[in-house]
């Protein structure tokens, strides 16, 4: 039996800053994962990834990441994605420095 589809988001790194970014419903890129467009079907996910991949001038390496939902907001299900949403654990650097990015 096929694995049930887990909600996904499209994430990438910003071309100029390298920072982790997430694709929004408006087709723009947000620094805060909670603004990400959550994709509920495999077809939607594939379509969103294709659209993101076309934005080569803005981002690098878009891919789909699994999330779970907490009150409608995407939450990382993988430690790696949790770190990308927050920043490194050894210094208070990256997104966690600014309340609006976490």
């Amino acid at each position: 039996m096929a694995k049930p589809f887990s909600p996904q988001v499209v994430t990438a790194n910003d071309l100029l800053d390298g920072d982790a970014v997430w694709l929004t419903a408006a087709g723009t890129w947000a620094l805060n994962a909670s603004a990400a467009l959550v994709l509920d079907t495999a077809q939607d996910a594939a379509r969103a990834l294709a659209a993101a991949t076309a934005q080569q001038g803005k981002v690098v390496g878009p891919y789909l990441a699994d999330v779970s939902l907490d009150a409608g907001r995407p939450v990382a299900t993988h430690t790696r994605e949790a770190l990308r949403m927050r920043g490194p654990s050894n210094y208070f650097h990256g997104k966690q420095e600014s309340a609006e990015n976490v």
């Binding site: 790194n13 071309l15 100029l16 800053d17 390298g18 920072d19 982790a20 080569q56 001038g57 690098v60 390496g61 299900t77 993988h78 430690t79 790696r80 770190l83 990308r84 920043g87 490194p88 654990s89 050894n90 210094y91 650097h93 990256g94 997104k95």
Partner: protein, 555 residues
């Protein structure tokens, strides 16, 4: 130290100009990421989890005060005020912005540094014994050879598209401080029975997912034959190394699959052809490079300043005990500055600390610094009578941690806090181990031990050769840590044995506490180190300590 010639200057500056154009074309859309990626990697620029990362070579781990100051300047001007020294004698900046990187490379070129060939399937930064030019046991300084190899391998037209990356290390001492046998090619400087200088050449070492101990392919290659001999090895590898599978593409796999003797025959055949094509200019070049590495003019006057200070200062005594190694000149000592303060990130130095190290090198250390693969900084030439003054200034800057070779002197790769390849974090694990054994006040009681942590199978943290190795893996999105025991990074390199199932993040430090309690209970005397006890008793008592429930069930 070696000084750039006009050729070197022009070459490095031209590469910066090229890269400036490439970045501009990527930003304006003329280059796609697929086109740009190999170009940025050729210049040491990676894209990691939160930002770009620039990897700068510190060839054979040697730099002077001015260069260290420039690294501090780069850290403050374009990064987050610090740099991370790596296990390959590089420094990594974790937060550069793409548009700034050409300026950073220009700033590096200003002090004869670059990021060329710190990535890609080419010959990487050539590493060497970090006590080079200073160690009491040194037969010959390995750095002229390493510099010759840097010049030979940089932009070598035949070896820019190898099956996989290629690493070379050089040692000039009987004690191997450069993990020579873990490299694609390892060189031990030695003399033959006739007294001629040359090299024992080791090939096919490596860590990563298939760890292999390098094998001696030739006992003695005379100095003038080094480049033709290495050309022969590279040529055979370039033609026969596997390109069908990234995980089987390193020289170690070719050695393993072909067999050392058969591969040696191919190398020797290629060597005959190569040797005839070398004009001897390589030997002349090496002689010129050797002249530039002439030892500094040592001040041989002895004094009792250090001995007197040691009498009254137990903190200094502890520091000298662990962080000062014997120098070839008895009036001097080699001072290792630990970048492993308890609870700090292994290998990180702030711009302020870098400037202090530059000051100390200039004031007391013949303007020389070294970076070790163990992620510490070395002041290789400090007069013993100056050690109290150096120590006082290190202490004031938080750099006097007396832990070299002890449990908190941990190698750790950047791990999943930064690295896009990582499967688990390394840094917080190192911080937690150091902090815990400091709380327990057990560091000196445990004595010499090497813990090495990698955040993925690629083994940048050298976990295979740690007395205790820790490998961070991903189990369904959750970090899990495997322990290996009995590895050795020295001349008798050994790959550690996996102890058993992995531990969750929170269970790891308690497991290590049980392991080290078992060691202290089992050792014959406090003089018997962890690795000696392990070799005497084997893995069984240590496994029993790590997995007490299983041990009970078996009983």
């Amino acid at each position: 130290m070696y000084n750039y010639t006009d050729f070197d200057h022009d070459f490095v500056r031209a590469r910066v100009d090229q890269f400036r154009g490439q970045v501009a074309r990527r930003v304006d859309g003329a280059l796609s990421e697929d086109e740009f990626r190999p170009l940025r990697l050729m210049n040491g620029l990676y894209l990691q989890l939160h930002a770009y990362m620039l990897r700068v070579a510190i060839p054979y781990g040697t730099l002077n005060g001015r260069q260290m100051r420039q690294l501090a300047y780069i850290a403050e001007r374009w990064d987050r005020g610090y740099g991370h020294f790596t296990t390959r004698q590089n420094i990594q900046f974790n937060w550069p912005r793409l548009r700034d990187v050409p300026d950073i490379l220009d700033a590096l070129a200003d002090v004869q540094m670059h990021a060329i060939q710190t990535s890609g399937n080419c010959i990487r930064n050539v590493t060497a014994d970090h006590f080079a030019g200073a160690a009491a046991d040194e037969v010959e300084d390995p750095r002229p050879t390493a510099e010759l190899l840097r010049q030979w391998s940089t932009d070598h037209p035949e070896f820019q598209f190898l099956p996989r990356k290629f690493k070379i290390a050089v040692s000039g001492a009987p004690t191997d401080r450069a993990v020579v046998r873990s490299h694609d090619i390892g060189l031990y400087l030695r003399r033959n029975d006739a007294g001629e200088a040359g090299y024992e050449v080791v090939i096919g070492g490596g860590l990563g997912r298939t760890p292999m101990v390098g094998k001696t392919v030739r006992d003695f290659v005379p100095k003038p034959d080094l480049l033709p001999y290495l050309e022969a090895i590279l040529q055979v590898y370039n033609l026969s190394g596997r390109r069908d599978n990234k995980y089987k593409a390193r020289l170690k796999i070719l050695v393993h699959e072909t067999g050392l003797d058969a591969l040696r025959d191919q190398i020797e055949a290629a060597f005959i052809v190569q040797k005839a094509q070398f004009s001897g200019v390589n030997a002349q070049l090496l002689a010129e490079i050797e002249a530039s590495f002439a030892p500094p003019s040592f001040n041989n006057t002895r004094s009792q300043v250090l001995e007197a200070a040691l009498q009254s200062d137990p903190v200094l005594r502890a520091f000298v005990d662990t962080n000062v190694a014997p120098h070839k000149n008895p009036a001097y000592g080699i001072v290792t500055v630990s970048l492993k303060a308890i609870g700090q990130t292994p290998g990180d130095a702030t711009a302020k600390q870098m400037r202090l190290l530059a000051d100390l090198a200039e004031t007391y250390g013949h303007d020389e610094l070294r970076i070790s693969h163990e992620q510490n900084v070395i002041l290789p030439h400090i007069r013993r009578s100056d050690i109290p003054a150096v120590h006082a200034r290190l202490k004031a800057a938080g750099l006097a941690t007396a832990n070299i070779g002890l449990i908190s002197d941990i190698i750790a790769c950047p791990g999943m806090d930064y690295c896009a390849l990582a499967t688990a974090r390394s840094i917080p694990v190192a911080q937690a181990i150091a902090t815990r054994f400091d709380e327990l006040r057990l560091e000196r009681e445990i004595g010499p031990i090497k813990i090495k942590i990698s955040g993925c199978i690629n083994a940048c943290g050298h976990h295979h050769v740690g007395h205790i190795g820790i490998l961070g893996l991903d189990r369904a999105g959750v970090e899990n840590y495997q322990i290996t025991l009995g590895g050795d990074a020295g001349r008798d390199m050994a790959v550690g044995e996996r102890a058993g199932p992995g531990f969750g993040y929170d269970a790891l430090v308690p497991a290590l506490e049980r392991l080290l309690d078992a060691y202290m209970a089992a050792r014959e005397s406090p003089a018997e180190s962890f690795i000696e006890t392990y070799r005497r008793l084997g893995a069984a008592p240590f496994k029993a300590a790590l997995y007490p429930a299983e041990a009970r069930n078996a009983a």
